[in-house]
């Protein structure tokens, strides 16, 4: 995943930086890290799907002496923790580029990645509860990843989109995660974009939890 991040940052972002302007490289740089976080977060749903259909572990896990609610919360927390660990090098690289590596604001960078990952882990668990084959899971994952990557403000400002698409872009969690990172760059407050990100992330996490609880009752 770090190699993927490096290719995104040092090939794609660097090339667009050369094509559009050096400030553009810094503008889109956090996108590389958030895309890595998104891929890592989706692994949680894939693991749950594999436990059910490939490893036949779901029945065993559900017999453990842990309440279902606690179990699902721990799975979501585990997914977020894994995503945070996977993106440590990327978060440090972006923090260095944004000049906050050696300041307390570094914590804010990790908070942004964590809150963003929370929503994606929830979404991936919700998808895994309904996908009957790995192809269906991969297709839905791909569609969500396309939405998060291309219908957000990673690469372009919201004003470039047609008016009809702008509400979709403005409600995209990736848009707010990017806004929060960019606030770090200009030494601004990350409170508003992070607060805006908390809403969809908590909603997706709850959706994931509910779907998982529904799936475990079958």
């Amino acid at each position: 995943m770090f190699a993927n991040f490096c290719i995104d940052l040092f090939v794609t972002a660097a090339t667009f930086g050369n094509l559009i302007g050096s400030s553009y490289f810094l503008r889109i740089a956090p996108g590389s890290n958030l895309i890595t976080a998104m891929v890592a977060a989706f692994q949680s749903g894939r693991d749950i799907w594999r436990e059910k259909y490939i490893k036949d572990l779901a029945s065993y896990l559900l017999t453990l002496p842990v309440s279902r609610r606690l179990f699902v919360l721990s799975r979501i927390a585990g997914g977020v923790a894994r995503s945070l660990v996977v993106t440590i090098p990327g978060t440090l690289v972006i923090s260095y580029l944004y000049g906050v590596l050696f300041s307390p604001r570094l914590i804010e960078a990790f908070v942004i990645v964590g809150v963003f990952s929370l929503g994606i882990v929830g979404l991936s668990i919700a998808v895994s509860a309904f996908a009957s084959t790995i192809e269906v899971f991969a297709t839905v994952r791909s569609a969500i990843q396309l939405y998060l990557s291309f219908l957000s403000t990673i690469f372009y400002d919201v004003s470039l989109f047609p008016a009809i698409v702008q509400p979709i872009v403005q409600t995209n969690p990736m848009t707010w995660a990017m806004q929060a990172f960019r606030a770090l760059q200009i030494q601004g407050s990350t409170l508003y974009p992070t607060a805006a990100l908390v809403g969809p992330s908590l909603t997706f996490a709850m959706l994931g939890a509910l779907c998982y609880l529904w799936y475990t009752r079958l």
């Binding site: 993927n4 040092f10 090939v11 094509l19 192809e135 297709t139 791909s142 291309f150 372009y156 470039l160």
Partner: protein, 268 residues
């Protein structure tokens, strides 16, 4: 994905070995059918291409003012990188077959190893072409490419890159034993071959460390040659020669490694 079997329509097909070309086509048909039996892959990749072209390329080309007609540049490159990506799938199929034991069944079929291997490479390349042609048509319509000779030349580029990447993918599938390592190697190879090339980004804009690699990427050969044919109506002989060399090298390597895996080094 790889759970299909070869259809035997009459008992004569088993008892009397057919001509080499018929067996070759039979093997290729199986791989083509395998891809179309999993429509979800086609749906997700088509969706990705359409969004990549009509959202990403359209919007980003409005920002790229330093390179004229970046949308057209990107559109042709997106088709080339997609055909390369699809051609990698054959490696996953072959790896799965070996893991699931299906390969043992395939080897009991009355098909010589040579036809078996060439048929698989051909099947991988043809199915990538079948899958990519609708995207190529979309790009041709949007960019008004109408010269039939240019279109044929570009299709030749696409077929050569598909054939070569299929060989590369088979080489990796039969030379890496661990499933996790195989997934990582193939994914990174796919990323490196498509991103470290001039398919999506102009050479002048690439960072210096990518500029050192991009001219040797087969995807660069195919993308530059296809653009030359479609946008300038001329033939990129160097690109075509590079592609042909790539096909010969990796088809040869793929066949050699596959033979070794199947026969322990004894050639059929």
């Amino acid at each position: 994905m790889s759970s299909s079997t070869i259809q035997v329509t009459s008992s004569n097909e088993l008892s009397v070995p057919g001509s080499a070309s018929r067996l070759l086509i039979q093997m290729a048909r199986r791989d083509i059918a395998t891809l179309f039996r999993t429509p979800w892959i086609i749906i997700s990749r088509s969706l990705a291409f359409i969004i990549q072209l009509f959202v990403f390329a359209y919007l980003i080309s409005r920002l790229v003012v330093s390179y004229p007609n970046y949308f057209g540049y990107y559109a042709v490159g997106a088709v080339v990188s997609t055909v390369a990506s699809i051609s990698f799938i054959i490696g996953y199929d072959i790896f799965e077959e070996a893991e699931e034991g299906l390969l043992d069944y395939l080897l009991t079929l009355p098909i010589p190893r040579r036809e078996f291997i060439i048929g698989r490479s051909l099947g991988g390349a043809v199915r990538a072409m079948i899958y990519t042609i609708p995207m190529f048509v979309i790009v041709a319509v949007v960019e008004s490419f109408a010269n039939p000779i240019s279109i044929l030349a570009a299709l030749l580029d696409l077929f050569l890159i598909a054939f070569g990447v299929t060989g590369l993918s088979i080489t990796v599938a039969v030379s890496v034993r661990s499933a996790n390592r195989f997934d990582v190697v193939l994914a990174l190879l796919e990323l490196a071959v498509t991103r470290a090339s001039t398919a999506l980004y102009p050479f002048v804009a690439l960072p210096f460390y990518v500029q050192a690699l991009a001219p040797f990427s087969p995807v660069s050969f195919a993308a530059d040659s296809a653009r030359q044919a479609l946008m300038k109506s001329s033939l990129d002989v160097l690109g075509l020669a590079g592609l042909a060399a790539f096909v010969v090298i990796f088809l040869g390597l793929g066949a050699t490694f596959y033979f070794r895996r199947l026969e322990g080094g004894v050639y059929a």
